[in-house]
């Protein structure tokens, strides 16, 4: 039961963090905790009392399936970890760009900025392309 | 002030008289042995109040008393 409780605790923690923490880096970390919880859950599914790693010992010729832990969840989780790493990497990249652009990683501040500049005042990309206003268009 | 003292003395007499009345009527008593001590409740009322006052003022208050805005200061960084 313990690993499931751990998974549940981590998942709740991650979920709560994503909901409550306004700082985007912390939100991202909470998201990672949540992903780890799912991984723990899958691994817990695979375990078995007295189960072995599904690799034959040297000299062993016969394998009895019942002795082994289920290897499939582990392989699945390898893929899930890759996905998680990719997502985190992309997210960190985005965060660097957000930081450069806004100088803040607090979602509340960012949202007020998004709103404050108004949707119709400037279109997106004002930061990397300030010349996008058409000729003769006075910036409003 | 004098009136209050007279009042107290009157009530004290009433207490004594009622206890005597109860004894005379042969009412049953329950409880610990102390309930059978004559005029126990006078003593208990006096000593009990003294103990409570001592514990509260002498023991708890030095430990627990804070300035009135203590929590405001503690929560100041909200």
């Amino acid at each position: 039961m313990t690993p499931y409780a751990l998974a549940a605790a981590l998942f709740t923690l991650g979920l709560g963090g994503m909901v409550l923490l306004p700082n985007l880096v912390r939100k991202l970390l909470a998201m990672n905790v949540m992903q780890v919880a799912v991984i723990v859950f899958f691994i817990a599914l695979a375990t078995k009392d007295g189960g072995r790693v599904p690799i034959l010992e040297p000299g062993e010729t016969e394998a009895i399936a019942a002795d082994f832990m289920n290897p499939l969840p582990h392989t699945l989780m390898l893929t899930a970890i890759v996905v998680s790493v990719a997502t985190t990497g992309l997210a960190l990249g985005l965060l660097i760009r957000i930081w450069r652009q806004y100088g803040s990683l607090d979602e509340r501040i960012l949202l007020s900025r998004l709103r404050g500049s108004g949707d119709d005042a400037t279109r997106h990309g004002a930061g990397d392309d300030a010349t996008r206003h058409g000729a003769g268009e006075p910036p409003r | 002030m004098k009136g209050i003292l007279v009042l107290l003395a009157g009530f004290a007499l009433l207490g004594v008289g009622l206890e005597a009345l109860g004894l005379a009527a042969g009412e049953e008593h329950h409880g610990g042995f102390w309930n059978f001590i004559p005029l126990w409740d006078f003593a208990f009322g006096f000593v009990g109040a003294a103990i409570l006052g001592l514990v509260a003022r002498g023991l708890l208050k030095p430990l627990l008393a804070r300035s009135e805005d203590w929590y405001d200061a503690a929560e100041g960084d909200r």
């Binding site: - | 208990f44 509260a56 208050k61 627990l64």
Partner: protein, 583 residues
């Protein structure tokens, strides 16, 4: 059929229904402007009177209806529940009368709903209904505390809400454990005082009963409520918990020690308290301790004593809080150190307060005496000698601080020449009626005894009982007369259990508070969003040009909600599906 006989038909006999109707009528009448602000409590008083009438003749029996696969018993009347429903209704009526000169619509509605929830809680016949109204009571009482109107009321109310949410969670877990252990039996009946369900239920109910160390919310929040709000608060929440204990855990011995501890704890803290409403709050804890101990003793006499004491307590504690409120209204001060010598300026209120003080102290011929000595006798008869001794000690302490210290330093003592505003008639009338009830039951205890759940007979007016009480009070009075200078209040704040969440440890839980605060803007957004939407829709239809010309400049619909809210909503969808599929 006499029109009033309709009130004897179960759906209409539910006093909570009338209180809730009163809230509805008040809300509609004030919102539509039919009723001015000044008369906001008028319909409430009328409906509370109806509730009192309904409760006084509520027929025994149960009414249930089926929801999902549960039979919910929303009306379960027997002697015990009707007793509480009646006194709740009475105190609601008196409280509304007391505050009639200053109650606004919001506070009236909150008070009526709070009382309605409390009444519905004690009339609930199963755990689910009980739980629903129990939680409703927490929410409505917070609404009432928030009506105190000060920033500190808001913050204390928020803390109160969080603590009660935690208690509600414990209660819910307890109910769930009990239901699964008993195979789905949800009737509100006597339970064994063992195992996890008991502990969870004890924490959940004990929090509302303010059993230390779960009492911090009470002394934290009640002094911050409005003068009227405190009257309702003092009467309802803790007594509902006493009712629950009476119903579910009669004879659980652990309650004896808990109750005795409560009684002494409240008294000791009251001795060093300066804010006089907080002092009275500590005495709620102390007095509830008598009732909890009575429940724990568990004999018929003890249970009768606990129920009777709850009934008496509601009346005299309401009277005391009314007196405290009158002090605040007349002087604008709330600390003993700021007061002194106002007896001459407000003698009527002071004397009425003293009636309450003598009641709570157990002076003969007042209603505290007839119920308190019942509990003490029961303790003696059941051989809980030390419980009896310590409860007597608590009674001494009660007299010391409520009967001697508070009136001495507030009404008598050093005259500080405080300017006193005259008190309105309705306030004094409510106090007088309450004091009259205290005296009435003190002189005619049979009026109360015949409503009690058990048939055990008891005569409080034996010479021994009278002598014992008179002697105790005189002894304490003599001590006070000798040493009152040492008991003088000081302008300090005493740390108590609320330090756990207000002091340093509380910072660990700060994210929880942040989370709860996040709900505020949601409600605000829904409200303002809906209003603005309606407004803009009208503008669009009536004057399409207004938008184009910039008459409506700000665009409220370009808002963005934090992305965490999407995640939260997803979690709620999961929760809903889990719940809905199981029903």
């Amino acid at each position: 059929m006499n029109p009033l006989d309709w009130l004897a038909i179960p759906p209409l006999a539910h006093p909570g229904l009338w209180l809730a109707l009163g809230a509805l009528v008040t809300a509609i009448a004030t919102a539509t402007g039919v009723l001015g602000r000044r008369a906001a409590s008028a319909p409430g008083i009328l409906f509370a009177a109806l509730a009192v009438f309904a409760a006084s003749r509520a027929p025994s029996g149960s009414v249930d209806f089926r929801v999902a696969r549960f039979d919910l018993v929303w009306y379960h009347a027997d002697d015990l529940s009707v007793l509480f429903a009646l006194v709740f209704s009475i105190v609601t009526l008196l409280g509304l009368l007391y505050g009639a000169h200053r109650l606004g619509p919001g506070e009236t509605v909150a008070a009526l709903l709070y009382a309605a929830s409390a009444v519905a809680t004690v009339l609930a016949g199963d755990w689910i209904t009980f739980f629903v109204f129990w939680e409703a009571m927490a929410i409505t009482s917070v609404a009432l505390i928030w009506q105190g109107g000060l920033p500190e009321s808001r913050r204390a109310g928020m803390r109160y809400l969080l603590v009660h949410a935690a208690g509600g969670a414990a209660l819910f877990v307890g109910i769930a454990l009990h239901a699964s252990a008993s195979g789905g039996v949800l009737d509100l009946g006597r339970l064994a005082a063992t195992g996890p369900p008991f502990w969870f239920l004890l924490v959940g109910v004990g929090l509302n009963a303010a059993i230390p160390p779960l009492h911090g919310w009470l002394t934290d929040a009640y002094p911050e409520a409005s003068t009227t709000g405190a009257v309702f608060c003092s009467a309802l929440t803790t007594k509902t918990a006493v009712y629950a204990l009476l119903r579910v855990f009669p004879g659980a011995e652990i309650l004896v020690s808990l109750g005795v501890a409560m009684a002494l704890y409240g008294v000791v803290f009251a001795v060093i308290e300066n804010d006089f409403r907080r002092l009275l709050g500590y005495h709620i804890i102390s007095q509830v301790g008598f009732m909890v101990a009575g429940v724990g003793i568990g004999t018929e006499l003890a249970l009768n004593g606990a129920a009777a004491h709850a009934y008496s307590h509601i009346l005299y504690k309401a009277l005391l809080f009314m007196g405290a409120g009158a002090l605040i209204e007349a002087t604008g001060r709330r600390r003993l150190t700021d007061l002194g010598g106002v007896f001459r300026s407000m003698p009527v209120a002071a004397i009425l307060y003293l009636v309450g003080a003598l009641s709570i102290s157990g002076a003969p011929l007042f209603n505290g005496f007839i119920s308190k000595s019942m509990t003490l006798s029961a303790a003696g008869e059941a051989h809980f000698y030390f419980a009896e001794l310590f409860l007597s000690l608590a009674a001494v302490g009660t007299f010391l601080s409520v009967g001697l210290k508070l009136p001495w330093f507030a009404f008598f003592g050093k005259d500080r020449g405080i300017a006193v505003r005259p008190l309105p008639v309705n306030l004094l009338a409510a106090m007088a009626i309450t004091a009259g009830l205290c005296l009435l039951y003190g002189v005619r205890p049979d009026l109360l005894y015949r409503m009690l759940p058990f048939a055990a007979s008891y005569d409080p007016f034996t010479a021994g009982h009278l002598a014992s009480n008179v002697q105790l009070l005189v002894g304490a009075a003599v001590l006070f007369a000798l040493g009152f200078r040492r008991l003088a209040p000081t302008p300090t704040r005493n740390l108590d259990a609320d330090w756990i969440y207000r002091g340093r440890p509380g910072r660990i839980a700060r994210p929880l508070v942040t989370g709860a605060r996040a709900l505020g803007p949601v409600a605000q957004a829904v409200r303002s969003g809906a209003l603005t939407a309606a407004n803009r829709a009208i503008v669009r239809l009536a004057a399409p040009g207004a938008l184009a010309t910039g008459a409506v400049r700000r665009d409220p619909f370009s808002f963005r909600t934090p992305i965490g809210r999407t995640v939260l909503l997803a979690a709620m969808v999961v929760g809903w599906l889990l719940l809905a599929s199981r029903l």
